[in-house]
């Protein structure tokens, strides 16, 4: 039985940052990574655009991962276990304690201020027992706090009820990315891509570079779900046709994909059958959404948010089970890896504080918001007037001109004009908690 203060499940951009955050806050930290090496999905993302916010540089995925690996190596007290797959997680019997008086300290390169807390929770709580399978046997680790940094998986064809046949040649975009970029293989010659999320757009360009023909990208929504920069750099610059409000209706081909039927959709997103047409191709890539990989925590009975398909967290990235933290893409699907690492860093630091001295969990407040907003991360904050809190959220559709407002006690406490707010790009507001009275409500005023 190994023991650690903070156990981080997953060694990708979130987990690595979480480890650095936890280590900086003085915790004995352990990363468990299922792959042979750290880095997670970054290792197959050979395109650039990573790190603009955190490192002020445009890095490729492996370079970005390397930066974090260096930070991990330079940190104290981080143990790394690779090739180990966590398959069981249980909460040990809990004995909460209330602590008083912690001296203020500033920690982390992410600039988070932790001050004196009045009511503290953590320290003596029971902790968690995690079991992992590895070539050396079953590894059991007892941790005071856990950060779940497992990322997400891609939706398969079945999840979008894609009809027709089920031959070879249907890949999720990320799977194709791994086969091409890591395994050095080719997946097809004539490719149709369904869905215009970032991975789909990036893979469209990648396939063209690899000599394949990308017949078209089909997107059921009226707008792409990807970042504006990816539409320009991956699609327009390569003259790849992007068909909006159009979807693949069924797959044709018994043994290998022979083509797909595509059709435009009506306002209800239903395909217009009369306009269905056949597009010959040998490969179909799916970039139709990501689902957080939350299953390891299934037994904990955590509070769940059906909008994000994941658990809810407070401002410490702590779930409804004290000492169990969740950040990055396993919490909500992010657009930018920098934000994933930002969240990981914060979660790691908070997990460390939880394990060392406890967290102030007094005056819990649920953030409310208007109909333009789909969800917020965090869902809860602690109304203790201390420090700042960054709130991330997504809107339900694209707006040209808006003003984002935070209201508390009927008064506007923060306001930001936001031109071109899109469903594909995450928004955020950083608030001074001293201005929060007894509620926090986010509003979007649409100026069109």
């Amino acid at each position: 039985m190994k023991k650690t203060d903070v156990l981080i499940i997953g060694g990708g951009p979130c987990g690595l940052a979480a480890a650095v955050g936890a280590s900086k806050a003085g915790a004995k930290t352990t990363i468990v990574e299922r792959d042979e090496r750290l880095g997670g999905i970054l290792m197959q993302c050979i395109h650039n655009g990573f790190g603009l916010h955190l490192f002020n540089e445009e890095l490729t995925g492996p370079e970005y991962a390397e930066r974090w690996k260096e930070l991990v190596s330079a940190s104290k007290n981080i143990g790394i276990i690779t090739n180990a797959f966590c398959f069981n997680l249980e909460k040990l019997s809990t004995a909460h304690s209330t602590m008083h008086g912690i001296s203020s300290k500033k920690s982390g390169n992410l600039g988070i201020m932790q001050e004196n807390f009045d009511t503290m929770q953590g320290v003596n709580s029971g902790g968690y027992l995690v079991s992992a399978s590895s070539v050396e046997g079953i590894i059991e680790i007892e941790a005071k706090a856990v950060v779940m940094a497992l990322g997400c998986r891609e939706k398969p064809a079945g999840a979008i009820l894609l009809g027709g046949t089920r031959p070879a040649g249907i890949f999720s975009a990320g799977c194709a990315q791994k086969l091409i970029n890591v395994e050095g293989k080719k997946v097809g010659k004539r490719v149709v891509i369904l869905g215009s999320g970032d991975i789909g757009l990036i893979m469209a360009r990648r396939l063209v570079c690899e000599g394949a023909e990308v017949v078209g990208i089909y997107e059921i929504m009226a707008q792409s779900g990807g970042l504006a920069r990816n539409i320009t750099q991956c699609v327009q610059d390569f003259n790849i046709p992007l068909h909006l409000s159009t979807t693949v209706t069924r797959v044709v081909g018994e043994k290998r994909v022979e083509g797909v039927f595509v059709a435009p959709v009506n306002e209800k997103l239903q395909p217009i059958k009369e306009l269905e047409k056949f597009v010959p191709c040998d490969t179909l890539l799916l970039s139709v959404g990501l689902i957080p990989e939350i299953e390891i925590a299934g037994e904990l009975g955590l509070e769940f948010n059906p909008v994000t398909n994941s658990y809810t967290v407070d401002e410490y990235f702590q779930t409804s089970s004290t000492g169990f933290f969740c950040a990055g893409n396993v919490l909500h699907v992010n657009d930018l890896v920098d934000n994933v690492s930002f969240e990981g860093g914060r979660a790691g630091e908070c997990a460390a504080l939880f394990s060392k001295s406890g967290l102030d969990m007094s005056n819990k407040l649920e953030i409310t918001y208007d109909d333009h907003i789909k969800y917020t991360v965090p869902k809860y904050i602690y109304n203790n007037k201390k420090g700042e809190v960054k709130i991330s959220f997504r809107v339900n559709k694209n707006y040209k001109r808006t003003i984002i407002r935070a209201m508390s006690g009927g008064v506007e406490i923060s306001k930001r004009p936001a031109p071109a707010v899109t469903a594909g790009e995450m928004q955020s507001l950083t608030l001074d908690k001293s201005k929060i009275v007894n509620d926090l409500h986010l509003e979007i005023e649409v100026m069109e």
Binding site: V135, I138, P156, G158, G164, C175, K185, V187, G188, K255
Partner: protein, 469 residues
Amino acid sequence: MQNFEVAVIGGGIVGACVFSELTRKGVNCVLLEGASDVSNGATKANSGIVHAGYDPQPNTLKAKFNIRGNQLYPAMCARLGVSILQCGTLVVSNEENRANLRVLYERGLQNGVQGMRIIERAELHKMEPNLADNIDVGLFAPTGAVISPYLTCIALSEEGVVNGGTVITNFKVDKIEKNGENYIISAGEQSVSANFIVNCAGVGANEVNALVGARQVPLSFVKGEYLLLDKSQKGFVNRPIFPLPTKMGKGILALPTIHGNIMLGPTAQPCEPNDTTVDDEGISAIKSKVILSVKQPNYRKVIKLFAGVRVISGDDFVIEKMPNSHFYFTAGICSPGLTAAPAIAEYLVEKMHEDGLEFREHKFVARKPYISTVDMDKKSLKELIKKNSAYGKIVCRCERITEGEIIDALNSPLHPTDVDAIKRRVRPTMGRCQGGFCLPKVIRIIAENNHIPPENVQLNGENSKILIK
């Protein structure tokens, strides 16, 4: 040319049962399968229910073999080392149709079904909390069960092999000639000879019959589409929930699989013999009809659509022998065909025996079931990993399948080579990501183990290569 006493044509559940039955009686036999793996037709795409036997009309072959098959299954599964979920089955109805449920009950009694019970609303909703609100009454048949149809079929074929039988895959029978007492059965350049033939070719029954001049059986084909839900939905129903049957079949059901998924379906659409496409009409039919029996399923948890083709011949099975020959054929083995299969095999083998086929003293060799690390306790798993570290290396994270298990499957008696064949045995790519994560690893393991380039790895049979050169 290899000589056999019996050639079984078709490696679906019926053929596999006949094959296993023969080998256990010391008969030298071969199972000929046209596809790259057994269980690749209707057997892999059906509900997997071992029916109790209240549904078929009395005094039919369906009734007779259903009842007998149902009795044979528990011991057969134990012998094979495959799972059977003895959960019973439930037909549900509202108050208005109580009389029709009673008809089923009476028919069950007449057919000899044991232990049936009419269950009233309060108890019923306790047993199955997700029944639709308007369900008032149910017929519970405790002898109904759920199995994995493809795994059972594979296990039977493997059992046949370890007991001296031969399985030849990719053997599409295209010629049968008589050579004295023997049949010469050919597939392209390949031939085997046998004294007896049993045609269990499913959708291809008439094509095989035509090769020997046996009668053409009137067959129709009806597609059944399914939605498969993620294991997180386990417990949505605890046993198969049927609506009252209609002329078109047993209706749209919700049922648990032995692995903990939930399955919805099948539809019943007339189709071409090999049409396993799923279409919007089918999906809509499942959605609109399943809620007649159960509450709204969580369609966000669908991980896979699939379809299988039922082969139907009138109201009953066709199990015959061509006059003055050693050629036996089965056709129209639709529901309850999976249940009936071991009983059909028992019957056919006995008939061949009466016809002169000799049984020999045979020392039975038990098949070795696949190791499933996910089902092992920690202590046993630790010991296993100590012996072979490949059992500690997780490849498929959704189903928690290790490299050791995949290598076992590759080296199993039928030596499967395709990704889907490995999936049917030990489940990598079967889970919620459907291979999004593990497909590259599975391809690599198959290529390394079989000493072939990764580009030659197939998904499911010839011409289904996953990568290109």
